[in-house]
């Protein structure tokens, strides 16, 4: 899914880009020039030269292309994307997921004869012996469950919850925030007070209610339920964005041209707020995976016999001294997923930030100076 997320659709300009999609097409350079008007006055005074250079760098590019370019330059985000994609492929194909068949020989629910003493991992990575995967690379628990299969299953569950929360909470948050920010007045007050109320409710209570309701949560129900208590930050941000965007000229222009409120919201304002939304959806996901694991750890999320990364750790934490691998591997997957998502979010934020300027490192400047001197 990370693949789809990266580039902004070309039709959707980056935040604050001035022309709305169905306004008269304006050259992008003009859009950017207006953009600088958003900056503190000092940046204008900084000189036309600087702007000219910046415009040169983005000449003839659509907003989507600019954002994509900036994103690809963020090395951390790219590495994180590779990691996340790798994890998703591994998790999906190894033990199979739904219709997708798996290539791993064991499953997560059966027990197997214990191979190494104590169920120690058979994965060997050393200079002298080379790399061996062996029968149970991540080890086994006392009963003989295959830790690799269990970790894969747990990661599947945690990823499902993460994506569900990310998507659903974003949709709710955007709906609430857009309505409140665009219509203001009573609707705004009402919706925002409701948001305040929801913020106050402890997530744990939701887990409990859910446990009662469906007799133990599955990844699906947990994701759905948590999405209903995680949309508030998004709605506040979207509202703030809408409050500022609705006062802009292009909204007036659209209204004078006879566009309905829905059309203005969907076609004119929303595409301009897409940066804020995407960035926060990503950050929401990194929070979501930690939330899911924490809830499952406390026993309010996914329960045994179903597996999530959080309840694996909860189950085996007392065995840490004797069987540390039962503890390291699920933790490693949680951290890697959360870290990758965080880095991708950082890359997206930089890419969508109109004030972002690329400052070459001193070494690059020196190299350029040397080149210029040699010429």
């Amino acid at each position: 899914m990370s693949q789809n997320q990266v580039p902004a659709p070309d039709a959707a300009p980056a935040p604050d880009a001035v022309p709305a999609p169905d306004a008269a097409p304006e050259p992008v350079a003009g859009g950017l020039a207006n953009l600088t008007g958003l900056l503190p006055q000092g940046d204008l005074a900084a000189g036309a030269g600087e702007n000219a250079i910046e415009l040169k760098a983005t000449e003839g590019l659509s907003q989507g292309q600019i954002v994509r370019r900036r994103f690809w330059r963020h090395r951390g985000a790219i590495v994180a994307m590779v990691f996340l994609a790798g994890i998703i492929v591994l998790v999906t194909t190894s033990i199979g997921w739904g219709p997708i068949p798996g290539w791993w020989k064991h499953n997560y629910s059966s027990t197997y004869p214990i191979v190494n003493p104590g169920g120690a991992p058979t994965l060997v990575v050393s200079l002298t012996e080379g790399v061996h995967i062996g029968e149970h690379p991540f080890g086994q628990d006392t009963v003989g469950h295959d830790m690799f299969a269990m970790t894969m299953r747990g990661a599947q569950q945690s990823l499902t919850v993460m994506v569900l929360i990310g998507l659903l909470a974003t949709v709710i948050g955007v709906l609430v925030g857009a309505t409140a920010g665009f219509f203001r007045g009573k609707a705004d007050t009402l919706l925002m007070r409701f948001t305040d109320m929801m913020i106050a409710i402890p997530v744990m209570v939701i887990g409990l209610v859910l446990g009662h309701w469906v007799n133990g949560a599955s990844a699906l129900t947990l994701g759905l339920a948590l999405a209903f208590v995680q949309w508030m930050a998004m709605s506040r941000l979207v509202r703030a964005e809408f409050l500022s965007l609705r006062e802009r000229e292009f909204v007036d222009a659209a209204r004078v041209a006879g566009a309905s409120s829905t059309r203005i919201i969907v076609k004119h304002i929303l595409p301009n707020a897409v940066g804020v939304i995407i960035v926060n959806a990503t950050l929401l996901m990194s929070v979501a995976i930690l939330l899911e694991t924490a809830l499952s750890y406390l026993g309010f999320g996914i329960h045994f016999p179903d597996i999530s990364l959080g309840n694996l750790i909860s189950e085996y934490q007392s065995a840490f001294a004797q069987r540390p691998w039962l503890f390291w591997w699920p933790g490693f997957f949680i951290i890697t997923i959360a870290l990758s998502v965080n880095f991708i979010g950082d890359g997206l934020r930089d890419a969508f930030d109109p004030r972002q300027r690329r400052i070459p490192s001193k070494r690059k400047m020196a190299r350029a100076a040397r080149k210029a001197a040699a010429r």
Partner: protein, 515 residues
């Protein structure tokens, strides 16, 4: 001038109360629907089961509709605020909710206060340094680590800390000799960091790095060779030296080293502290927290007096610097006294050579002097505090960095530079203060959140604070305990929001509260 502030507060409190009412209603309904307070009785085999069920139904009004029960509970809360009755009693042990809260709130306060202060100090410092060294390798390194800390699950960190911070460290204390490779590693890390943070030419940075490397190696070597970990102590020489170091650093930071009077004022405060070192040891025999806090405040007064005594046009600046020095100096004296209690604490039969506690807030039945129990409190705080700091420090760092970067690009900073102010004045006086404004609005909300949210840390380290109370009440279906917890945390969160807005309005003259 004051009127708009009051009407603002009144309006916000009114709106906040409505929000609180709504939120308590929602939570009450959900909990009432989800928990079954009769669960343990239904499955039990006692002969008078039916009677017990009826009794509890009577006590909890289970035959009433949840909506009515909510309003009854609300009535009880209002009555309690008037000083009558109690808002609910726990079924399983018959304890009033107010009493449960009276135990849980101080425990949580004890748990989170140290970590909040540490996380803010550390986060702000690191954030400012990364902002000043934007795009340096130090910046990238911290960025990576802050993201890593963001991504750490609290329970995972806590279990690791228990293993390595407590169990392994306690094992290590049996024979506390630091191996030479560890000394080298730590010294390398310190030297490398110092070289990264230092500004200027490569040569100067290399020298700074080497000095830091040598210093760290010397300190580590001393710790290992002198058996410091088992018989620590600074002594009057150590206290004076560290105090003088702090005095110079504080003077450099808050007044600039060119301001000689501030430097001399802080150094004389240190001298006063050193002179009082031996008399204080007698005063410490019958120490208690109020006495110590009084002494701490006195040290600030001494500092102010020293600053004023040195006089000059900038005497208030000197007084401020010297007062800060006094506060730091007295912390060193206090730490020195605590260290003297360390051997007797480690050797105490109940501690038995394993000083870093992993369970609970205190060692039960420890007894002994004030210093012994103070050491005990601190050793139990070490691990949970580390866990909480690790997790919340990352967000403070990012936040400070962003806000500092924004400020450093502002026009007034350019103006300050253009009129020839020194870098210290620009950074500390013009940039730092303004960068703190947005931070000041985050901190109250964060404190309110961490207060209700240290659930996992409390659970792993077995602290009986708010989080434990909440989780256990949820498990046992104690709706009134859940509501008690929720009332406190939600009220705190809502007031934190109001406080944050007020602070913002107070600090930033562009914001008006009567909006």
């Amino acid at each position: 001038m004051l009127a708009p502030v009051f009407s603002f507060i009144a309006r916000r409190v009114a709106v906040g109360s409505v929000v609180l009412l709504g939120a308590t209603f929602i939570v009450f309904m959900m909990v009432a629907w989800a928990v079954d307070p009769l669960a343990d009785l239904r499955t039990s085999n006692v002969p008078n089961k039916q009677f017990l069920i009826e009794q509890r139904t009577e006590a909890l009004d289970l035959d009433m509709a949840p909506v009515l029960r909510y309003f009854k509970w609300l009535g009880n809360v209002v009555a309690y605020l008037w000083g009558q009755g109690t808002f609910g009693v726990a079924v399983t042990n018959g304890q009033p909710v107010a009493d449960q809260l009276a135990v849980a709130v101080p425990t949580t306060l004890k748990l989170v206060s140290a970590s909040v202060v540490l996380a803010i100090l550390l986060g702000v410092t690191v954030g400012i340094v990364t902002a000043l060294r934007q795009y340096s390798s130090f910046d990238y390194l911290t960025t990576f680590f802050t993201f890593l800390f963001y991504s750490l699950p609290a329970f995972w960190v806590a279990v690791l800390l228990k293993q390595f911070g407590a169990i392994r460290f306690n094992d290590f204390l049996a024979d506390p000799r630091v191996p030479i490779w560890a000394v080298a590693l730590v010294a390398l890390a310190v030297g490398g960091l110092a070289a990264m943070v230092a500004a200027g030419r490569p040569r100067g940075r290399l020298i700074i790095g080497l000095v830091a490397f040598a210093g760290a190696a010397a300190v580590m070597g001393y710790i290992s060779a002198s058996n410091f970990l088992l018989e620590p102590g600074l002594g009057i020489v150590g206290v004076t030296l560290t105090g003088a170091g702090a005095a110079v650093a504080l003077a450099a930071l808050t007044a600039g080293l060119s301001n000689r009077r501030a430097l001399w004022a802080s150094l004389s405060t240190v001298a006063v502290g050193a002179a009082l070192y031996f008399p204080l040891q007698y005063a410490f025999v019958h120490a208690s927290w109020p006495v110590l806090l009084g002494l701490w405040a006195t040290s600030a007064v001494v500092g102010v007096a020293a600053g004023l005594a040195w006089g000059g046009d900038d005497r208030f600046v000197s007084a401020r610097t010297a007062a800060l020095t006094g506060l730091v100096m007295s912390v060193f004296v206090f730490a020195d006294r605590l260290m003297k209690a360390w051997p007797s604490y480690v050797g105490h039969p109940r501690v038995n050579g394993r000083p870093i506690g992993t369970l609970g807030a205190v060692t039960p039945e420890l007894g002994g002097t004030f210093w012994l129990s103070a050491t005990d409190v601190l050793t139990h705080l070490v691990l949970p505090t580390t866990a909480l700091v690790l997790i919340s420090f990352a967000s403070y760092t990012r936040y400070t960095r962003a806000s500092m970067l924004e400020v450093m690009n502002a026009d007034y900073i350019r103006t300050a530079r253009a009129k020839g102010l020194g870098e210290r004045t620009v950074v500390v006086r013009h940039a730092f203060r303004n960068a703190l404004i947005p931070l000041a609005t985050v901190i109250p909300i964060d404190i309110a959140l961490i207060f209700g949210g240290a659930i996992i840390t409390e659970r792993i380290f077995s602290w009986r604070g708010m989080g434990t109370m909440f989780i256990e009440a949820l498990r046992q279906g104690e709706i009134y305990s859940v509501m008690g917890y929720f009332l406190v945390t939600a009220a705190l969160a809502i007031s934190a929001n109001i406080v944050a807005d007020l602070i913002y309005a107070g600090l930033d003259p562009r914001i008006r509260v009567n909006a």
